[in-house]
Protein backbone atom coordinates (compact mmCIF):
# COMPACT_ATOMS: atom_id res chain seq x y z
CA UNK A 1 0.00 0.00 0.00
CA UNK A 2 1.67 3.27 -1.05
CA UNK A 3 2.25 5.69 1.79
CA UNK A 4 3.03 9.34 1.04
CA UNK A 5 4.50 11.51 3.76
CA UNK A 6 3.81 15.08 2.68
CA UNK A 7 6.33 16.47 5.13
CA UNK A 8 9.08 15.00 2.93
CA UNK A 9 7.45 14.13 -0.39
CA UNK A 10 6.17 16.84 -2.77
CA UNK A 11 2.38 16.86 -3.11
CA UNK A 12 2.78 16.63 -6.88
CA UNK A 13 4.17 13.11 -6.52
CA UNK A 14 1.10 11.95 -4.59
CA UNK A 15 -1.35 13.48 -7.05
CA UNK A 16 0.64 12.21 -10.05
CA UNK A 17 0.62 8.70 -8.62
CA UNK A 18 -3.13 8.89 -8.11
CA UNK A 19 -3.71 10.23 -11.61
CA UNK A 20 -1.43 7.63 -13.12
CA UNK A 21 -3.43 4.65 -11.87
CA UNK A 22 -4.29 2.34 -14.73
CA UNK A 23 -7.41 0.22 -14.88
CA UNK A 24 -7.00 -3.04 -12.98
CA UNK A 25 -4.10 -1.75 -10.89
CA UNK A 26 -3.25 -3.56 -7.64
CA UNK A 27 -2.51 -0.34 -5.78
CA UNK A 28 -6.01 0.37 -4.64
CA UNK A 29 -5.34 1.82 -1.20
CA UNK A 30 -3.18 4.88 -0.52
CA UNK A 31 -2.25 6.43 2.79
CA UNK A 32 -1.23 10.06 3.15
CA UNK A 33 0.45 11.23 6.35
CA UNK A 34 1.43 14.72 7.52
CA UNK A 35 -0.83 16.60 5.12
CA UNK A 36 -0.17 19.72 7.26
CA UNK A 37 -2.89 21.80 5.66
CA UNK A 38 -1.66 21.37 2.06
CA UNK A 39 -4.08 22.43 -0.66
CA UNK A 40 -5.47 20.17 -3.42
CA UNK A 41 -4.49 16.93 -1.69
CA UNK A 42 -5.84 13.98 -3.73
CA UNK A 43 -7.50 16.31 -6.22
CA UNK A 44 -8.51 14.93 -9.61
CA UNK A 45 -8.86 11.23 -8.75
CA UNK A 46 -10.51 9.27 -11.57
CA UNK A 47 -10.05 5.68 -10.50
CA UNK A 48 -11.75 3.56 -7.81
CA UNK A 49 -8.94 4.06 -5.29
CA UNK A 50 -9.20 4.41 -1.52
CA UNK A 51 -7.22 7.24 0.04
CA UNK A 52 -6.83 7.72 3.80
CA UNK A 53 -5.49 11.11 4.78
CA UNK A 54 -4.14 11.19 8.32
CA UNK A 55 -4.45 14.78 9.38
CA UNK A 56 -6.06 18.06 8.36
CA UNK A 57 -5.98 19.43 4.85
CA UNK A 58 -6.22 22.83 3.21
CA UNK A 59 -8.40 23.91 0.30
CA UNK A 60 -9.97 21.72 -2.42
CA UNK A 61 -9.08 18.32 -0.97
CA UNK A 62 -10.47 15.53 -3.19
CA UNK A 63 -11.62 18.18 -5.66
CA UNK A 64 -13.21 16.75 -8.83
CA UNK A 65 -13.23 13.26 -7.28
CA UNK A 66 -14.54 10.75 -9.82
CA UNK A 67 -14.81 7.29 -8.35
CA UNK A 68 -12.41 7.48 -5.43
CA UNK A 69 -13.13 6.88 -1.72
CA UNK A 70 -11.32 9.53 0.26
CA UNK A 71 -11.35 9.78 4.06
CA UNK A 72 -9.88 12.76 5.87
CA UNK A 73 -8.94 11.85 9.43
CA UNK A 74 -8.97 15.45 10.49
CA UNK A 75 -10.62 18.63 9.25
CA UNK A 76 -10.78 20.12 5.77
CA UNK A 77 -10.33 23.64 4.47
CA UNK A 78 -12.61 25.41 1.99
CA UNK A 79 -13.98 23.64 -1.08
CA UNK A 80 -13.54 20.00 -0.01
CA UNK A 81 -14.79 17.61 -2.74
CA UNK A 82 -15.67 20.57 -4.92
CA UNK A 83 -17.10 19.44 -8.24
CA UNK A 84 -17.08 15.77 -7.19
CA UNK A 85 -18.42 13.58 -10.02
CA UNK A 86 -18.81 10.24 -8.22
CA UNK A 87 -17.36 8.32 -5.31
CA UNK A 88 -17.26 9.14 -1.61
CA UNK A 89 -15.50 11.69 0.54
CA UNK A 90 -15.74 11.40 4.33
CA UNK A 91 -14.45 14.01 6.76
CA UNK A 92 -14.07 12.92 10.36
CA UNK A 93 -13.65 16.46 11.62
CA UNK A 94 -15.08 19.78 10.42
CA UNK A 95 -15.27 21.26 6.96
CA UNK A 96 -14.67 24.89 6.12
CA UNK A 97 -16.68 26.94 3.68
CA UNK A 98 -18.27 25.83 0.40
CA UNK A 99 -17.84 22.10 1.06
CA UNK A 100 -19.03 20.10 -1.95
CA UNK A 101 -19.35 23.23 -4.09
CA UNK A 102 -20.86 22.54 -7.56
CA UNK A 103 -20.66 18.79 -6.89
CA UNK A 104 -22.28 16.72 -9.65
CA UNK A 105 -22.48 13.31 -8.00
CA UNK A 106 -21.13 11.08 -5.29
CA UNK A 107 -21.54 11.31 -1.52
CA UNK A 108 -19.87 13.80 0.83
CA UNK A 109 -20.13 13.01 4.54
CA UNK A 110 -19.03 15.54 7.15
CA UNK A 111 -19.05 14.15 10.67
CA UNK A 112 -18.32 17.46 12.35
CA UNK A 113 -19.73 20.83 11.30
CA UNK A 114 -19.67 22.40 7.88
CA UNK A 115 -19.30 26.14 7.53
CA UNK A 116 -20.99 28.66 5.26
CA UNK A 117 -22.07 27.97 1.71
CA UNK A 118 -22.13 24.17 2.16
CA UNK A 119 -23.30 22.66 -1.13
CA UNK A 120 -23.31 25.95 -2.98
CA UNK A 121 -24.52 25.42 -6.57
CA UNK A 122 -24.83 21.67 -5.97
CA UNK A 123 -25.57 19.80 -9.21
CA UNK A 124 -26.35 16.25 -8.10
CA UNK A 125 -24.00 15.59 -5.18
CA UNK A 126 -25.45 14.18 -1.95
CA UNK A 127 -24.11 15.81 1.20
CA UNK A 128 -24.76 14.56 4.74
CA UNK A 129 -23.60 16.70 7.67
CA UNK A 130 -23.78 15.23 11.17
CA UNK A 131 -23.33 18.64 12.77
CA UNK A 132 -24.37 22.16 11.78
CA UNK A 133 -24.02 24.12 8.56
CA UNK A 134 -23.28 27.80 8.15
CA UNK A 135 -25.02 30.62 6.32
CA UNK A 136 -25.99 30.64 2.64
CA UNK A 137 -25.79 26.87 2.34
CA UNK A 138 -27.13 25.27 -0.84
CA UNK A 139 -27.17 28.70 -2.45
CA UNK A 140 -28.50 28.21 -6.01
CA UNK A 141 -28.53 24.43 -5.52
CA UNK A 142 -29.71 22.82 -8.76
CA UNK A 143 -30.02 19.15 -7.84
CA UNK A 144 -28.86 16.62 -5.30
CA UNK A 145 -29.62 16.31 -1.60
CA UNK A 146 -28.30 18.14 1.45
CA UNK A 147 -29.03 16.39 4.75
CA UNK A 148 -28.21 18.19 8.00
CA UNK A 149 -28.63 16.55 11.40
CA UNK A 150 -27.81 19.75 13.25
CA UNK A 151 -28.82 23.36 12.63
CA UNK A 152 -28.58 25.56 9.57
CA UNK A 153 -27.46 29.18 9.51
CA UNK A 154 -28.98 32.20 7.77
CA UNK A 155 -30.27 32.27 4.20
CA UNK A 156 -30.58 28.51 3.69
CA UNK A 157 -31.25 27.59 0.08
CA UNK A 158 -31.17 31.13 -1.24
CA UNK A 159 -32.14 31.21 -4.93
CA UNK A 160 -32.65 27.46 -4.92
CA UNK A 161 -33.41 25.42 -8.05
CA UNK A 162 -34.30 21.75 -7.49
CA UNK A 163 -31.85 20.54 -4.85
CA UNK A 164 -33.67 18.97 -1.88
CA UNK A 165 -32.71 20.07 1.60
CA UNK A 166 -33.47 18.13 4.79
CA UNK A 167 -32.69 19.72 8.15
CA UNK A 168 -33.30 18.06 11.52
CA UNK A 169 -32.39 21.00 13.73
CA UNK A 170 -33.31 24.66 13.49
CA UNK A 171 -32.93 26.90 10.46
CA UNK A 172 -31.86 30.40 11.38
CA UNK A 173 -33.52 31.87 8.29
CA UNK A 174 -34.53 30.79 4.82
CA UNK A 175 -33.02 32.37 1.75
CA UNK A 176 -34.84 33.98 -1.12
CA UNK A 177 -37.47 31.67 -2.69
CA UNK A 178 -36.71 28.79 -0.30
CA UNK A 179 -39.69 27.38 1.57
CA UNK A 180 -40.52 24.48 3.83
CA UNK A 181 -42.15 21.67 1.90
CA UNK A 182 -44.24 18.64 2.64
CA UNK A 183 -42.44 15.40 3.51
CA UNK A 184 -43.99 12.65 1.43
CA UNK A 185 -43.19 8.91 1.50
CA UNK A 186 -40.73 9.19 -1.36
CA UNK A 187 -38.77 11.84 0.58
CA UNK A 188 -38.68 9.77 3.75
CA UNK A 189 -37.44 6.84 1.73
CA UNK A 190 -34.71 8.84 0.04
CA UNK A 191 -33.67 10.34 3.35
CA UNK A 192 -33.49 6.87 4.92
CA UNK A 193 -31.28 5.71 2.10
CA UNK A 194 -28.92 8.70 2.47
CA UNK A 195 -28.67 8.36 6.25
CA UNK A 196 -27.85 4.66 5.82
CA UNK A 197 -25.17 5.37 3.20
CA UNK A 198 -23.63 8.02 5.45
CA UNK A 199 -23.46 5.66 8.42
CA UNK A 200 -25.90 7.61 10.56
CA UNK A 201 -27.47 5.61 13.42
CA UNK A 202 -30.34 6.34 15.79
CA UNK A 203 -31.94 9.08 13.71
CA UNK A 204 -35.30 8.76 11.96
CA UNK A 205 -36.26 10.52 8.71
CA UNK A 206 -39.43 11.80 10.43
CA UNK A 207 -37.26 14.07 12.57
CA UNK A 208 -36.33 16.14 9.53
CA UNK A 209 -38.09 18.95 7.71
CA UNK A 210 -37.81 19.35 3.96
CA UNK A 211 -36.98 22.63 2.25
CA UNK A 212 -37.07 23.42 -1.44
CA UNK A 213 -37.60 26.05 -4.08
CA UNK A 214 -40.84 27.99 -4.30
CA UNK A 215 -40.03 28.13 -7.99
CA UNK A 216 -40.97 31.79 -8.35
CA UNK A 217 -37.46 33.08 -8.75
CA UNK A 218 -35.90 30.76 -11.29
CA UNK A 219 -38.96 30.64 -13.54
CA UNK A 220 -39.57 34.12 -14.80
CA UNK A 221 -43.21 35.10 -14.69
CA UNK A 222 -44.27 38.72 -14.87
CA UNK A 223 -46.86 38.03 -12.17
CA UNK A 224 -44.02 37.39 -9.72
CA UNK A 225 -42.21 40.63 -10.52
CA UNK A 226 -42.27 41.70 -6.88
CA UNK A 227 -40.26 38.61 -5.95
CA UNK A 228 -37.33 39.69 -8.17
Amino acid sequence: MPVFDLSVTPLRELNSALHGLAAGTNDTAFEVVNPRGHHAVAAGIDAPVTVDIKGSVGYYCAGMNDGGNVTIHGSAGPGVAENMMSGTVVIEGDASQYAGATGQGGLLVIKGNAASRCGISMKGIDIVVYGNIGHMSAFMGQSGHLVVLGDAGDALGDSLYEAKLFVRGSVKSLGSDCIEKEMRPEHLEKLSELLEKAGVRGVRPEEFKRYGSARKLYNFNIDNADAY
Partner: protein
Protein backbone atom coordinates in the same frame (compact mmCIF):
# COMPACT_ATOMS: atom_id res chain seq x y z
CA UNK B 1 -5.96 37.90 -1.92
CA UNK B 2 -3.72 38.83 1.02
CA UNK B 3 -2.66 36.68 3.93
CA UNK B 4 -2.90 37.54 7.59
CA UNK B 5 -1.20 35.99 10.61
CA UNK B 6 -1.44 36.82 14.29
CA UNK B 7 0.01 35.36 17.46
CA UNK B 8 -0.91 36.19 21.04
CA UNK B 9 1.27 34.45 23.61
CA UNK B 10 -0.18 33.27 26.90
CA UNK B 11 3.03 31.49 27.92
CA UNK B 12 5.84 33.93 28.66
CA UNK B 13 8.40 31.23 27.91
CA UNK B 14 7.52 31.60 24.23
CA UNK B 15 8.14 35.36 24.14
CA UNK B 16 11.73 35.13 22.87
CA UNK B 17 10.38 33.13 19.91
CA UNK B 18 7.56 35.47 18.93
CA UNK B 19 9.38 36.98 15.97
CA UNK B 20 10.57 33.60 14.72
CA UNK B 21 7.13 31.98 15.00
CA UNK B 22 5.31 34.90 13.42
CA UNK B 23 7.86 35.12 10.59
CA UNK B 24 7.45 31.45 9.79
CA UNK B 25 3.66 31.83 9.72
CA UNK B 26 3.92 34.86 7.46
CA UNK B 27 6.33 33.22 5.04
CA UNK B 28 3.92 30.29 4.67
CA UNK B 29 1.30 32.79 3.52
CA UNK B 30 3.50 34.20 0.73
CA UNK B 31 1.36 32.47 -1.94
CA UNK B 32 -1.55 34.68 -0.92
CA UNK B 33 0.25 37.87 -1.89
CA UNK B 34 3.75 38.66 -3.16
CA UNK B 35 3.41 42.42 -3.39
CA UNK B 36 4.49 43.59 0.05
CA UNK B 37 4.62 42.42 3.63
CA UNK B 38 4.54 43.91 7.08
CA UNK B 39 4.72 42.91 10.70
CA UNK B 40 3.80 44.56 13.98
CA UNK B 41 5.62 43.22 17.03
CA UNK B 42 4.56 44.20 20.55
CA UNK B 43 7.66 44.04 22.72
CA UNK B 44 7.96 44.41 26.45
CA UNK B 45 6.86 47.59 28.17
CA UNK B 46 9.71 48.85 30.30
CA UNK B 47 7.41 51.42 31.84
CA UNK B 48 9.25 54.60 30.98
CA UNK B 49 10.10 54.54 27.28
CA UNK B 50 7.95 54.96 24.20
CA UNK B 51 8.85 54.12 20.62
CA UNK B 52 8.27 55.62 17.20
CA UNK B 53 8.99 53.43 14.20
CA UNK B 54 9.70 55.40 11.07
CA UNK B 55 10.44 54.66 7.46
CA UNK B 56 12.41 56.64 4.89
CA UNK B 57 12.73 56.43 1.14
CA UNK B 58 16.26 57.73 1.62
CA UNK B 59 17.38 56.11 4.88
CA UNK B 60 21.07 57.00 4.72
CA UNK B 61 20.35 60.68 4.38
CA UNK B 62 17.38 60.83 6.74
CA UNK B 63 18.76 58.70 9.56
CA UNK B 64 22.22 60.25 9.54
CA UNK B 65 22.55 62.47 12.60
CA UNK B 66 18.90 61.99 13.57
CA UNK B 67 19.66 60.73 17.08
CA UNK B 68 21.85 63.75 17.84
CA UNK B 69 19.33 66.22 16.46
CA UNK B 70 16.45 64.79 18.43
CA UNK B 71 18.46 64.72 21.66
CA UNK B 72 19.30 68.34 21.20
CA UNK B 73 15.75 69.32 20.33
CA UNK B 74 14.16 67.43 23.23
CA UNK B 75 16.95 67.71 25.79
CA UNK B 76 16.47 64.10 26.90
CA UNK B 77 18.18 60.84 25.93
CA UNK B 78 16.95 59.54 22.59
CA UNK B 79 18.13 56.42 20.83
CA UNK B 80 17.67 55.69 17.15
CA UNK B 81 18.14 52.09 16.04
CA UNK B 82 18.34 51.81 12.26
CA UNK B 83 17.05 48.69 10.57
CA UNK B 84 17.34 48.96 6.79
CA UNK B 85 14.76 51.50 5.60
CA UNK B 86 13.19 51.77 9.05
CA UNK B 87 14.38 53.13 12.36
CA UNK B 88 13.07 52.78 15.90
CA UNK B 89 13.27 55.96 17.94
CA UNK B 90 13.11 55.35 21.68
CA UNK B 91 12.51 58.17 24.10
CA UNK B 92 10.78 58.96 27.39
CA UNK B 93 7.00 58.44 27.29
CA UNK B 94 6.21 61.96 28.31
CA UNK B 95 8.28 63.29 25.43
CA UNK B 96 6.45 61.33 22.75
CA UNK B 97 4.32 64.12 21.30
CA UNK B 98 7.16 66.59 21.40
CA UNK B 99 9.36 63.99 19.77
CA UNK B 100 6.90 63.52 16.90
CA UNK B 101 6.72 67.24 16.34
CA UNK B 102 10.51 67.53 16.33
CA UNK B 103 10.71 64.66 13.89
CA UNK B 104 8.26 66.23 11.48
CA UNK B 105 10.11 69.50 11.68
CA UNK B 106 13.57 68.09 11.05
CA UNK B 107 12.68 65.27 8.66
CA UNK B 108 9.44 66.12 6.85
CA UNK B 109 9.78 63.24 4.37
CA UNK B 110 10.01 60.54 6.98
CA UNK B 111 6.87 58.41 7.44
CA UNK B 112 5.72 57.28 10.84
CA UNK B 113 4.84 53.59 10.77
CA UNK B 114 3.80 53.32 14.40
CA UNK B 115 4.10 54.95 17.78
CA UNK B 116 3.34 53.79 21.29
CA UNK B 117 4.83 52.07 24.29
CA UNK B 118 5.53 48.67 22.86
CA UNK B 119 4.73 48.32 19.16
CA UNK B 120 7.15 48.35 16.25
CA UNK B 121 5.77 48.16 12.71
CA UNK B 122 7.92 47.18 9.76
CA UNK B 123 6.54 47.06 6.26
CA UNK B 124 7.99 47.15 2.79
CA UNK B 125 7.47 46.12 -0.80
CA UNK B 126 8.78 42.58 -1.32
CA UNK B 127 8.24 38.97 -0.34
CA UNK B 128 7.70 38.04 3.31
CA UNK B 129 11.01 36.21 3.56
CA UNK B 130 12.85 39.30 2.36
CA UNK B 131 10.92 41.69 4.56
CA UNK B 132 11.47 39.64 7.75
CA UNK B 133 15.12 39.29 6.90
CA UNK B 134 15.68 43.01 6.29
CA UNK B 135 14.28 43.95 9.64
CA UNK B 136 15.63 41.09 11.71
CA UNK B 137 12.14 40.03 12.72
CA UNK B 138 13.05 36.42 13.48
CA UNK B 139 15.26 37.57 16.34
CA UNK B 140 12.61 39.76 17.94
CA UNK B 141 10.81 38.83 21.10
CA UNK B 142 7.46 40.09 22.31
CA UNK B 143 4.07 39.31 23.76
CA UNK B 144 2.03 39.38 20.59
CA UNK B 145 2.18 40.42 16.97
CA UNK B 146 0.31 40.53 13.68
CA UNK B 147 1.58 40.22 10.13
CA UNK B 148 0.31 40.65 6.61
CA UNK B 149 1.30 39.80 3.09
CA UNK B 150 -0.36 41.73 0.35
CA UNK B 151 -1.90 41.10 -3.02
CA UNK B 152 -2.78 44.65 -4.08
CA UNK B 153 -6.22 45.00 -5.62
CA UNK B 154 -7.62 48.43 -4.89
CA UNK B 155 -4.48 50.56 -5.02
CA UNK B 156 -0.83 50.59 -6.04
CA UNK B 157 2.00 48.45 -4.74
CA UNK B 158 3.97 50.84 -2.54
CA UNK B 159 5.53 50.81 0.90
CA UNK B 160 2.73 52.92 2.27
CA UNK B 161 0.15 50.63 0.68
CA UNK B 162 1.48 47.75 2.75
CA UNK B 163 -0.18 46.70 6.00
CA UNK B 164 -0.26 46.98 9.05
CA UNK B 165 -1.78 50.44 9.19
CA UNK B 166 -1.47 52.32 12.44
CA UNK B 167 -4.80 53.36 13.91
CA UNK B 168 -3.47 55.00 17.06
CA UNK B 169 -0.98 54.59 19.85
CA UNK B 170 0.05 50.92 20.00
CA UNK B 171 -2.81 50.05 17.66
CA UNK B 172 -2.71 48.72 14.12
CA UNK B 173 -4.83 46.92 11.56
CA UNK B 174 -4.33 44.32 8.84
CA UNK B 175 -6.96 43.44 6.28
CA UNK B 176 -7.77 40.60 3.90
CA UNK B 177 -10.44 41.60 1.44
CA UNK B 178 -11.42 44.77 -0.38
CA UNK B 179 -13.75 47.55 0.59
CA UNK B 180 -16.20 48.93 -1.94
CA UNK B 181 -17.23 52.17 -0.26
CA UNK B 182 -13.76 53.36 0.67
CA UNK B 183 -13.79 56.37 -1.65
CA UNK B 184 -17.00 57.62 -0.10
CA UNK B 185 -15.75 57.03 3.44
CA UNK B 186 -12.46 58.73 2.67
CA UNK B 187 -14.32 61.89 1.58
CA UNK B 188 -16.35 61.89 4.78
CA UNK B 189 -13.32 61.24 6.98
CA UNK B 190 -11.36 64.01 5.27
CA UNK B 191 -14.18 66.38 6.15
CA UNK B 192 -13.76 65.25 9.76
CA UNK B 193 -10.08 66.16 9.59
CA UNK B 194 -8.42 62.82 8.93
CA UNK B 195 -5.34 62.92 6.73
CA UNK B 196 -4.62 60.24 4.14
CA UNK B 197 -1.37 59.35 2.46
CA UNK B 198 -2.55 56.79 -0.07
CA UNK B 199 -5.57 55.66 -2.12
CA UNK B 200 -5.55 52.43 -0.16
CA UNK B 201 -8.88 51.03 1.06
CA UNK B 202 -7.36 49.60 4.23
CA UNK B 203 -5.96 52.98 5.16
CA UNK B 204 -9.59 54.17 5.10
CA UNK B 205 -10.63 51.35 7.44
CA UNK B 206 -7.81 52.26 9.82
CA UNK B 207 -8.78 55.94 9.73
CA UNK B 208 -12.43 55.00 10.27
CA UNK B 209 -11.55 53.08 13.43
CA UNK B 210 -9.35 55.92 14.67
CA UNK B 211 -12.16 58.42 14.04
CA UNK B 212 -14.75 56.26 15.82
CA UNK B 213 -12.47 55.86 18.82
CA UNK B 214 -11.83 59.60 18.87
CA UNK B 215 -15.60 59.97 19.26
CA UNK B 216 -15.39 57.94 22.47
CA UNK B 217 -15.88 54.33 21.42
CA UNK B 218 -13.45 51.66 22.55
CA UNK B 219 -11.89 49.48 19.89
CA UNK B 220 -14.47 46.72 20.30
CA UNK B 221 -17.35 49.16 19.74
CA UNK B 222 -15.53 50.76 16.80
CA UNK B 223 -15.15 47.34 15.18
CA UNK B 224 -18.84 46.64 15.67
CA UNK B 225 -19.69 49.92 13.93
CA UNK B 226 -17.29 48.95 11.16
CA UNK B 227 -19.38 45.85 10.42
CA UNK B 228 -22.31 48.16 9.64
CA UNK B 229 -20.52 51.09 8.01
CA UNK B 230 -17.92 49.37 5.86
CA UNK B 231 -19.13 47.81 2.63
CA UNK B 232 -17.09 45.07 1.06
CA UNK B 233 -15.15 41.99 2.09
CA UNK B 234 -13.05 42.01 5.17
CA UNK B 235 -11.34 39.90 7.71
CA UNK B 236 -9.63 42.36 10.05
CA UNK B 237 -7.05 41.59 12.67
CA UNK B 238 -6.21 44.49 14.94
CA UNK B 239 -3.31 44.73 17.36
CA UNK B 240 -3.60 46.72 20.56
CA UNK B 241 -1.14 47.31 23.36
CA UNK B 242 -2.40 44.39 25.37
CA UNK B 243 -3.86 42.05 22.80
CA UNK B 244 -5.48 41.45 19.47
CA UNK B 245 -8.92 41.39 17.95
CA UNK B 246 -10.53 39.67 14.97
CA UNK B 247 -13.69 40.53 13.02
CA UNK B 248 -15.16 39.25 9.75
CA UNK B 249 -17.81 40.91 7.60
CA UNK B 250 -21.32 39.34 7.60
CA UNK B 251 -20.82 37.44 4.33
CA UNK B 252 -17.45 36.10 5.55
CA UNK B 253 -15.96 34.94 2.25
CA UNK B 254 -12.47 35.89 3.33
CA UNK B 255 -10.95 33.02 5.31
CA UNK B 256 -10.03 33.00 8.96
CA UNK B 257 -8.69 30.10 11.05
CA UNK B 258 -7.84 30.24 14.72
CA UNK B 259 -5.94 27.90 17.02
CA UNK B 260 -5.81 28.00 20.80
CA UNK B 261 -3.72 26.12 23.34
CA UNK B 262 -2.60 26.89 26.90
CA UNK B 263 0.41 28.63 25.37
CA UNK B 264 -1.10 30.88 22.68
CA UNK B 265 -3.97 32.07 20.52
CA UNK B 266 -3.05 32.13 16.84
CA UNK B 267 -4.72 33.44 13.70
CA UNK B 268 -4.03 32.53 10.09
CA UNK B 269 -5.79 33.05 6.79
CA UNK B 270 -5.14 29.37 6.15
CA UNK B 271 -4.68 26.42 8.47
CA UNK B 272 -1.25 25.67 7.00
CA UNK B 273 0.05 28.94 8.50
CA UNK B 274 -0.49 27.38 11.93
CA UNK B 275 1.04 23.93 11.45
CA UNK B 276 4.49 24.80 12.78
CA UNK B 277 3.21 26.14 16.09
CA UNK B 278 4.11 24.07 19.16
CA UNK B 279 1.30 21.75 20.24
CA UNK B 280 -0.81 22.44 17.14
CA UNK B 281 -1.86 18.77 16.97
CA UNK B 282 -3.83 19.21 20.18
CA UNK B 283 -4.95 22.79 19.66
CA UNK B 284 -8.58 23.80 19.48
CA UNK B 285 -9.06 24.87 15.86
CA UNK B 286 -12.06 26.92 14.80
CA UNK B 287 -13.22 29.62 12.41
CA UNK B 288 -14.52 32.92 13.80
CA UNK B 289 -18.21 33.61 13.10
CA UNK B 290 -19.17 36.44 10.75
CA UNK B 291 -20.02 39.92 12.09
CA UNK B 292 -18.68 39.06 15.56
CA UNK B 293 -15.85 40.86 17.34
CA UNK B 294 -13.39 38.60 19.15
CA UNK B 295 -10.74 39.88 21.55
CA UNK B 296 -7.82 38.42 23.46
CA UNK B 297 -6.25 40.66 26.05
CA UNK B 298 -3.26 40.15 28.33
CA UNK B 299 -4.62 42.57 30.86
CA UNK B 300 -7.98 40.85 31.14
CA UNK B 301 -6.47 37.39 31.23
CA UNK B 302 -4.18 38.31 34.12
Amino acid sequence: MCGIVGLFLKDKALEPKLGALLSSMLITMTDRGPDSAGIAIYGNDNGTAAKITVQSADPEKDFDGLEYELRRALDVPVSVMVKSTHAVITLAKDKLDEGRAALTASRPNIRVMSSGDTVEIYKEVGLPKDVVSRFGVTAMSGTHGIGHTRMATESAVTTLGAHPFSTGSDQCLVHNGSLSNHNNLRRELKREGMVFETENDTEVAAAYLTAEMAKGKDLGAALESAVDDLDGFFTFVVGTKSGFGVVRDPIACKPAVMAETDQYVAFGSEYRALVNLPGIEDARIWEPEPATVYFWDHEKAA
